[in-house]
């Protein structure tokens, strides 16, 4: 193989710096403007934060599942989700502003209000600030431990070629998937469901997971296509791999729709005020139009486009669909979070953009800075050849 396995030139040197500047400008702008309206700032920040967090978490899940199933096809592209999940320590640092904005975001954190609220006082043993922080530490602790473990073993193998590392990753993946399922579910309950603390949905964890894993696979595909555009990984990640990523994306598009509908359907059927309250807020005013838009472009359009084998294998169409789905993932989270703040309809704020580009810049900068330091694919993985030779029949 004459494949280049190191980033160089623009993507290694200039891109991380440019992204960092974009990030710092975005965040500083958001902080300056946000002083006028701290609640808007924290809500905008939360949406963008969740967008990048769910992508990193989805990537962690992707890596775990590859080891758990002893997958051969994905070895050549595995370094990309490994880099995405290695941003989880960064996401832990970026969580600090949310802790600072607890009172703006989560009204259960107001102890006086809780005293006058029968439901919230019943929930207080779980929904209180100290325990919330303990749980957050627990989630990030597990995620950082898992992502470091898989990243370190995989990159160590680049040097030593030790096959035992593959086996130890396979062993840990079984425990990892359990830890992941619990922490991911409870983090969705803590950070998203408790925005409306009277409301409850037993499906919120898997709902956020479904959107996250879909966006993560799309991001893997998009980063691979971007590297391909710059001439990297052309022989290691072939049309066959994009085809398979496309199948996963198609599957998760359906999975997301299935979960999103199931959550809505059960609440609609039962018609209990504590539950329907949430959906009523989310379809008030033009939020309803927004919801329909999400259904059409997060499910209907990509479903029909990616049902076709030719669309999955045509890299231009493929790039278009994954880009659409990534944008839709952001808009979906916007729809999940924002109606709790803008009750009467969509209210687009400059802070939404500043927070997004701020976090995007920092996230992309760290991602590509790290990418430049390691091989672009697991060069000594025992199943690398199997992956490179892989063909869809």
């Amino acid at each position: 193989m004459a494949e280049v396995n190191k980033l160089n030139g623009f993507l290694e040197k200039r891109f991380p710096k440019i992204a960092l500047v974009v990030g710092i400008v975005g965040i500083c702008g958001a902080i300056i403007l946000g002083r006028e309206d701290s609640t808007q700032f924290f809500y905008s920040y939360l949406v963008s934060y969740l967008f990048f967090l769910t992508i990193s978490l989805g990537a962690l899940f992707f890596v775990i599942i590859q080891h758990l199933t002893r997958a051969g096809w994905s070895v050549g592209l595995r370094r990309i989700p490994e880099h995405l999940m290695a941003n989880l320590p960064l996401m832990a640092v970026l969580f600090i502003p949310i802790l600072l904005g607890l009172h703006d975001l989560y009204h259960w954190s107001d102890t006086v209000e809780v005293l006058h609220d029968a439901l919230l006082s019943k929930k207080a043993p779980f929904l209180n600030v100290p325990f919330f922080i303990v749980r957050a530490v627990l989630y990030f602790g597990s995620w950082i431990w898992l992502s470091r473990f898989f990243f370190k073993n995989s990159t160590d193998q680049d040097k030593s070629g030790d096959k035992g590392l593959t086996l130890s990753m396979q062993k840990v993946s079984a425990v990892a998937i359990l830890v992941y399922a619990l922490t991911q579910t409870f983090s969705a309950i803590d950070w998203i469901m408790s925005l409306t603390p009277h409301w409850f949905s037993t499906m919120i964890g898997v709902y956020i997971f479904a959107g996250g894993i879909l966006a993560a696979v799309c991001t893997i595909s998009l980063v691979a296509l971007m590297l391909r555009q710059f001439g990297y990984l052309k022989e290691t990640i072939t049309v066959e791999h994009y085809h398979d990523l496309g199948k996963l994306i198609f599957g998760f598009v359906i999975f997301w729709a299935y979960i999103a509908f199931s959550q809505y359907f059960l609440i609609w059927y039962a018609n209990i005020p504590e539950e329907t309250e949430w959906y009523i807020h989310h379809i008030t005013g033009n939020w309803n139009t927004f919801a329909i838009f999400v259904i059409v472009f997060h499910f209907v359009v990509p479903f029909f486009l990616f049902a076709s084998r030719h669309a999955k294998r045509n890299l231009k169409v493929h790039a278009g669909v994954v880009l659409l789905l990534i944008v839709m993932h952001f808009l979906e989270l916007y729809w999940v979070v924002m109606p709790n703040f803008s009750h009467h309809g969509i209210h687009v704020s400059t802070l939404d953009f500043l927070c997004f580009f701020g976090l995007f810049g920092i996230y992309a900068s760290v991602l590509f800075f790290r990418m430049g330091k390691y091989a672009l694919y697991p060069i000594k993985d025992p199943r690398l050849k199997e992956s490179q030779d892989f063909i869809n029949h």
Binding site: F261, Y264, F265, W268, Y269, N271, A307, S308, R309, I391, H393
Partner: protein, 174 residues
């Protein structure tokens, strides 16, 4: 009258090579027979993509419309019953059944479409007249068969199959 000439090959690799050569020699009505699927055979025989996917899509869309339509008609026209105070046309409630009927029709379209494209069920095929073919083709034999409308082609096809390494070559008539 039509004839088919059958030649046997010793393993999947030989069969793959033979299919490639037969296709290259310009024969249009030929088939390769193996007890199990062989990777790369579609390319070797230069087969076009199947239209089955489009048949399944049509089946699925038909099911989708039929399932939704049936429920909408039943709920609003045929037996209008108020259920838990919801409107008669509660499209949300129709979704699960619509989904199931879509899947059912798509699956039927896939199975019966496959039967149709493979011209099944077929009670008789002249290839079975070849003694070794009917004995081995489903267990351990690898064959190429070339069909022709003209009986006079038999000798040239026999020569061709022998030239690409076939053994046990013989023609069968209708």
């Amino acid at each position: 009258m039509a004839i088919s000439v059958i030649g046997e090959f010793k393993d999947p690799t030989e069969l793959l090579r033979a299919a490639k050569k037969t296709n290259k020699a310009g024969y249009k009505t030929f088939d390769a027979h193996s007890p199990f699927p062989i990777h790369g055979m579609d390319d070797a025989m230069d087969l076009k993509g199947s239209v089955l996917g489009w048949i399944v899509l049509c089946g699925g869309l038909t099911g989708c419309v039929a399932g939704f339509g049936l429920q909408a008609w039943v709920a609003t026209e045929a037996y209008p019953l108020v259920i838990s105070g919801k409107p008669l046309f509660s499209y949300q409630a129709f979704v699960p059944v619509t989904f199931e009927v879509t899947v059912l029709f798509a699956a039927f379209a896939a199975v019966f479409g496959m039967f149709g494209l493979n011209k099944l069920p077929q009670l008789y095929n002249r290839l079975f007249k070849h003694r070794d073919f009917s004995k081995k083709a489903a267990s351990h034999g690898f064959f190429v068969s070339i069909a022709s409308e003209l009986d006079s082609d038999e000798a040239s096809i026999v020569d061709f199959l022998k030239s690409i390494g076939a053994t046990n070559v013989s023609g069968v008539k209708e």
